[in-house]
């Protein structure tokens, strides 16, 4: 039992959502990066979450339900090919004058950005609420 009830679930989710925001920021920043360390255009990164059981509930002790949090399972590269445009003047264009752009879609990234920041805010308000409840509990009898 924690003093701030549920804080481990909330902090896990906050961490995971922040990582997601970082990755989205990276994708948007590299929306026009045509040369990466591997020589090719930037490929967008995708964060995947996994569920981590904190404490099992239910008398039968089955592990399917319980207090659980989320954490980042990994950051993978989206390998869909990027758009190819004709731009012979570009230094990264190939012999035919074709240039491969990163597979970043700004609209997708913006929607993802809003979802992630709303999820972050919701978890933050839970953390604030838990704190207020703990403060109130500490004031019992005063």
């Amino acid at each position: 039992m924690e003093l701030l009830s549920g804080i481990s679930a909330t902090s896990g989710a906050l961490n995971a959502q922040r990582t997601r925001l970082d990755v989205i920021a990276q994708n948007i920043a590299n929306a026009r990066t045509t040369r990466g360390p591997d020589g090719g255009a930037y490929q967008r990164r995708v964060v995947s979450f996994e569920n981590e059981l904190l404490r099992s509930v239910g008398a039968d002790g089955r592990m399917t339900s319980g207090l659980s949090t989320v954490r980042v399972a990994g950051i993978t590269t989206d390998s869909t090919p990027g758009q190819r445009i004709s731009d012979p003047g570009h230094p990264d264009a190939d012999a035919q004058g074709m240039l491969t752009l990163p597979n970043v879609n700004l609209a997708f990234e913006m929607v993802d950005l809003i979802t992630a920041s709303r999820a972050y805010e919701a978890n933050l308000s839970v953390a604030k609420n838990s704190r207020q409840m703990a403060m109130k509990t500490l004031e019992i009898g005063r």
């Binding site: 569920n51 207090l67 989320v70 999820a119 609420n129 509990t137």
Partner: protein, 130 residues
């Protein structure tokens, strides 16, 4: 001497309900953390707790303090809500935030109730308003 206060029905009830509200806060924290986990079913304080409590008060009779003390709130999957999303997740973030705010008010009321009991006892001991 202080047994009558600590063993009064309201004090013991407030204690149990405080336990329940802390558990509910934990459940809501989990629900919001897992708002995007596919197949996640929302958690809440088991409905057994409320129904047992209601049964104890059925017919206008007051339960004994020992009956209240034996109650323990537990967490369970909420089977009353249906998953409306394609991924089988039954969490709705708006209703979770509302439930959290309601739970906060409940918790504040209960801590106040417990405090008042203790303050009354202090006043009886010292003879001064504390």
């Amino acid at each position: 001497m202080i047994q009558p206060v600590a063993n009064s029905l309201n004090y013991q009830l407030a204690r149990k309900l405080l336990d329940a509200s802390v558990l509910r806060q934990e459940a809501i924290a989990t629900n919001i953390a897992n708002a995007e986990t596919p197949g996640f079913r929302r958690l809440d304080v088991s409905s057994d707790f409320a129904s047992t409590l209601r049964a104890r008060f059925a017919g206008g009779t007051q339960p004994r303090v020992s009956e209240i003390q034996s109650l323990t709130p537990k967490l369970a999957e909420d089977s009353t809500v249906r998953a409306v999303r394609a991924d089988g997740n039954s969490v709705e973030i708006e209703s979770e935030l509302l439930a959290m705010n309601r739970n906060h008010v409940d918790h504040e009321f209960l801590t106040e109730l417990v405090s008042r009991h203790i303050k009354q006892l202090k006043m009886a001991i010292t003879g001064r308003v504390v």
